[in-house]
Symmetry: D2
Subunit: 123 residues, 4 copies
Amino acid sequence: MQDCIDACQRCHEVCLRMAMTHCLELGGRHTEPEHLRLMLNCAEICQTSANFMLSQSSVHGAVCGACAEVCTACADSCASVGDMDECVQACRHCAETCSEMASSYQPRMARRDAGTSAGAHSH
Amino acid sequence: MQDCIDACQRCHEVCLRMAMTHCLELGGRHTEPEHLRLMLNCAEICQTSANFMLSQSSVHGAVCGACAEVCTACADSCASVGDMDECVQACRHCAETCSEMASSYQPRMARRDAGTSAGAHSH
Amino acid sequence: MQDCIDACQRCHEVCLRMAMTHCLELGGRHTEPEHLRLMLNCAEICQTSANFMLSQSSVHGAVCGACAEVCTACADSCASVGDMDECVQACRHCAETCSEMASSYQPRMARRDAGTSAGAHSH
Amino acid sequence: MQDCIDACQRCHEVCLRMAMTHCLELGGRHTEPEHLRLMLNCAEICQTSANFMLSQSSVHGAVCGACAEVCTACADSCASVGDMDECVQACRHCAETCSEMASSYQPRMARRDAGTSAGAHSH
């Protein structure tokens, strides 16, 4: 789990710093709304994901799953903008470690459905 | 979407306030580690979820899905502790609105897998 | 205190929404680095300030003081950019209520200095 | 500035982890309301302070000043509870580096007063 915390904290730091300095200073496609939003969104969910793991939350897997999604979207956006290799790498690494954390987590709603209806759900 | 933002902000406020005042002051089962963690975790993911929607994030559905999971776990914990009806209601309402937001969101990874296997798009 | 919490939550919401939609979509002076940074910084400190008050923190006055500073800087920036009256008003109102909360707070360090110079306590 | 960012991130991590695991598991004076609140407040303002510096905010000094206050209060609380040396050290170190960052910052309100009334203000 510590690897995943480190990856989230690293990705948070890189995305926030790059968005607020590199991207804002360069402008153009670097401040295209969808791109800058994804970078700031990514920084925030990485922070939240790290905080869930630091607090040994029993539901951290759900947040890690969402974090992997957002990191993947941000990595794709950074790759298409170009000139942001540090971000691409931090996001891809964070997405990988978060996916692993999420894969061992069974959604509570699925568990509740299973408990109620004896495995009838189709997720 | 505004309904979901309102529900997240309300749930964040109720959980944080109750955890830091009601629960800490009563102690006993109210400060049982799993319970207090869930309340603070819930407050945080609701805040993050609201922030994603306020920023019109294209990936807010992933975070709303995680938020629904955490709210459901927190509602169950509050219901079993008792004496926390305001929290139970705020969490259940937030879980419902977030589930609706999440249900219209197709995970990026699923899209990527689909794209790769069918070769239908080039992202 | 509830008035100040409301003002902080309102200012957080207005600044975050305007920065991530209005400003990013218009570009130009709306995405000038110092301006967009101040709007996002303001949204964050307002959130933190509200969280301190919701948790009945004994040191909320220190954070409210910082929040008043940041809100004032953000209001000035929004006023000079123009076209952002909703933000200017939310920031100025939040700065006022936070200044009131801060004015009744005596910095701990000042108290410690006073304690040391008078030899009154041993911390 | 990087030293101060590192100190804030370290203090955030130590306080959050200790509050949510060590303190909640031990209970007793470790979950006394004022103590646990200060630890969670400290974790949050350290996170906010680090985020202001990562984004090269022009008003980070105001937040660093508040952070130093909260860290000092948290360190005192941890020292009196005992058994929390790692927290005491992280908080004291963070308070020191934040005080240095804050000392070079002139409050905006003081500057505005000075500009308006030619140095007549009494802060």
